[in-house]
Structures are given as structure tokens and as C-alpha cells.
């Protein structure tokens, strides 16, 4: 591997032009050839057994399906079924299209959504929230309660996914498959090619860019397009890319189920407490005491920056945990 790394970019390009064997491909082949030496025979045996079991299961299902398909269905009822399907579909499409024709034209004057509420947001938004980006000012100040609800929905969605799919010491008692999966290493990459060089090189370049862009979008949520939700989603996507390319061990070093719980509960609580404070003071016409700062500065617009960071944490962790749990049943 070390001698292959000496090739410069120009050399690699020349070889690619001459259609010699690609160096990346060579590395990939070398890595694939090297891989079996690391795998212990026990795991290989387990894999073989697992594949056999699965094949048997699939055959049983296929037999049942065949038996089901061989049941005689009268020709007329089948025809009727198709007719009714098409009719219902066409009726739904027609209804929806008819409704669309009755919608007001985009930005028409008699559009009922153009009323005093958006006018107030546009005219006084900057003054009252201090956020240059009116959208963020709206969702994290005027309608912050909705955003708290959205974050809680995300959190509870992850909790339910964990409840359904997580495999821990408890699940070993009920499922032999879960016990086997947990006791064996590398099971999360059971069906995947290992050491995919193209994916790893791409991830190496894209991962830092994605995370940096995400952090930028979160911190500048009140100044430029974006905000906690989009920035968090970008960070989460970057983490997922890294995990797909290099496996879970890097991220597990600093991010486990416990970290997830702590970060998300802390973020949700901070959000709830700070918003409770501002609702209390705002509803009673008290001075909130939080300076709005000069519009356009990074430290401005009061609580919005804090709320953005909270939402960013929640969304990034949620995306990563969803992926990890879906993929191997553990965070």
C-alpha cells in the first residue's frame, strides 16, 4: 500500500489517460484480497449458516406465495377489481385537479393568505426579533412554540424507532438472531463490499465540508437562508456519509446512546426554558432583558441564535441515530 501512495496526481492522470490499470482499482483489489485474512473462521462459518437459514426461509415463503397464487380467482371479479381501482384513482385525481383550479393565482390580490399577519411580519419583523432572515425570525420567535413541537415530534419519532429496532442485552433473551448479531463483530456490514475506495476517497473530501457547512448554516440562521433544521440535517448527512464509508467505530468513540440522550434532552430543555421565559415576559408586557443587538451581527437577535443551536443539535443527532438504528439496531 505504501508504494502505491507515492504516485502523484499527474502520474495517476497520465495512467488514466493511457488506460493502464487504475491505481484506485489496484488499491481496491489489494484491500479486498487482504480482507479475508482479518476475518476469523468463526465469523465465516456463522455467515454461511446465516445465508443457508435465510435461503430456507425464503424458499418457504416462495412456496406459500405459489400456493396462494394458485388459488382460482374468478375472471369477472378480477376484472371488476381492476375497473374499480382505475375508477377510484381517476376520481381522486379529478377531485384534486378540480380543487387546484379553484386556488387563487400565485400572489393574486384576492389571495386570502395575504392579510395583515404577513404584512406585520415583513414590516416589523426586523424591529421586533432582530433577525435579518425573516423566515427564521418567524419560526423561532413568533411561532417558536410550533418549532418546539416539531423538535419534540422528531425526538419521539427516534424514541419509537429505538423502541422497535434497538437490540440490547434484553433483546438477547427473546431472539437468537439478535443475540448472534450482537455477539459477532462486523455484522453491520454483512451484505456490503468492504474497503470501497471510491466511497472512502469521496467521504474523506466531503465529510469536513458537509459538517462545516452545517455549522455555518446553523450559526448564521438569523442572517442568511437556513437555520437549525437545515443545518442540523446537513451535519447529520455528513455523519451518515462518514459512517457509510468508514464504519461505526470512529463515531462511536464520542457518540453513543448515552450521549444522544444527554444532548437531545439538554437541547430540548434549554429550548423549553428559554421560550417559557420569553413567553412569560412577552405576554405580561415585561422587559425581557435580552438585548436584540445590531441587526446583521452574528451575536444578535436575542434568543434566536440559542434556539437555532438547540434545534441544530436535535436534528443532527436525530438523523444520525435514525440511520444507525435502522442499519444495525444500535447507536
Amino acid at each position: 500500500m505504501s508504494e502505491q501512495k507515492k504516485h502523484s496526481a499527474g502520474e495517476r492522470f497520465r495512467r488514466w489517460l493511457n488506460q493502464d490499470t487504475d491505481i484506485l482499482e489496484q488499491q481496491m483489489i489489494a484491500a479486498q484480497m487482504k480482507a479475508p485474512a482479518e476475518v476469523d473462521p468463526e465469523e465465516v462459518e456463522w455467515r454461511r449458516q446465516r445465508l443457508e437459514e435465510e435461503a430456507q426461509e425464503e424458499q418457504a415463503v416462495a412456496r406459500r406465495l405459489e400456493a396462494f397464487n394458485e388459488q382460482k380467482v374468478p375472471e369477472t371479479s378480477r376484472f371488476l377489481y381492476c375497473c374499480i381501482c382505475v375508477c377510484i384513482c381517476l376520481a381522486m385525481i379529478g377531485m384534486l385537479l378540480y380543487t387546484v383550479t379553484m386556488l387563487p393565482k400565485f400572489a393574486a390580490e384576492w389571495d386570502p393568505t395575504i392579510n395583515e399577519v404577513p404584512q406585520r411580519y415583513i414590516e416589523k419583523g426586523l424591529q421586533e426579533t432582530g433577525a435579518v432572515n425573516i423566515v427564521t425570525g418567524m419560526i423561532l420567535d413568533y411561532r417558536a412554540f410550533d418549532t418546539l413541537g416539531e423538535s419534540t415530534v422528531l425526538f419521539s419519532a427516534v424514541m419509537v424507532v429505538l423502541l422497535l429496532l434497538r437490540m440490547d442485552a434484553e433483546s438477547d433473551k427473546y431472539s437468537t438472531l439478535a443475540a448472534a448479531m450482537r455477539s459477532m463483530p462486523h455484522t453491520d456490514t454483512f451484505y456490503e463490499p468492504k474497503h470501497d475506495t471510491i466511497l472512502q476517497h469521496t467521504a474523506k473530501i466531503l465529510f469536513p465540508i458537509a459538517v462545516l457547512l452545517g455549522i455555518y448554516v446553523v450559526l448564521n440562521g438569523h442572517l442568511s437562508p437556513g437555520g437549525g433544521f437545515s443545518g442540523g440535517a446537513i451535519i447529520g448527512a455528513g455523519l451518515v456519509l462518514h459512517v457509510t464509508a468508514f464504519g461505526f467505530q470512529d463515531i462511536r468513540r464520542f457518540f453513543t446512546y448515552k450521549t444522544y440522550q444527554r444532548i437531545v434532552s439538554a437541547a430540548l430543555l434549554t429550548y423549553a426554558v428559554s421560550k417559557t421565559y420569553s413567553f412569560y415576559t412577552g405576554a405580561n408586557h415585561l422587559e425581557s432583558g435580552i438585548p436584540l443587538g445590531t441587526p446583521g451581527a452574528i451575536l444578535s437577535s436575542g434568543l434566536i441564535l440559542v434556539l437555532n443551536i438547540c434545534v441544530g443539535f436535535i436534528v443532527a443527532c436525530t438523523v444520525y441515530v435514525l440511520y444507525a438504528v435502522f442499519r444495525k439496531g444500535e447507536v
Binding site: S230, A233, A237, L322
Partner: protein, 99 residues
Amino acid sequence: MTGIIQLMMLFLIGCAIAVSLTRDLLTSIIIYMCFSMVMCLVWITLESPDLAITEAAVGTAITSLLYFLTLKKIHAIDARNEMRKKDTATKEKDGGAAR
């Protein structure tokens, strides 16, 4: 500019129809990804960059990733599956010829 927007709208409609008509689940997810990408451009032309960023991250990356993972869980994307599909295809051909 309006020409480009109309072209994108037509592409969106084409994608939506194609998603429902493809038999292969993997293909339909990739078409769905294309739909999200073009939708992202449409949001930009409608002057809502916030939505465009969210659409790019959530619609294109995360939703499709979760779909891919689900397909993997139910073994819909699997080398053995491809082989089996080929088998059934040849069998159907043979059966059709015999009939």
C-alpha cells in the same frame, strides 16, 4: 426564465408518474431523488432558499437513505436477489414458450 420553470415542472410531473410506474424499487427511489433535486431548484426560483436547503438535505439525502436502508433490511437490494430475478425471468420466458 419561465421556460426553464415550465420545463422543470414538466420534469417533476414526469418523475412523479415514473415513480409510480417503475417496478424496481431501487429505481423508483433514485427517480424520487431526482424529483427532490429538481424540486430544490424550483424552490430557489420561487425565492425560498430556506426551503431549498432543507429539501436538498432532507428530501434528497436523508429520506432516500432511509428508503435504501429499509430495502436492505427486506433484502430487496441484494446480489442474490438479482440472480433470482434473472432466474424467474428466464423461467417465465421458458414457460411462455411452452404454453
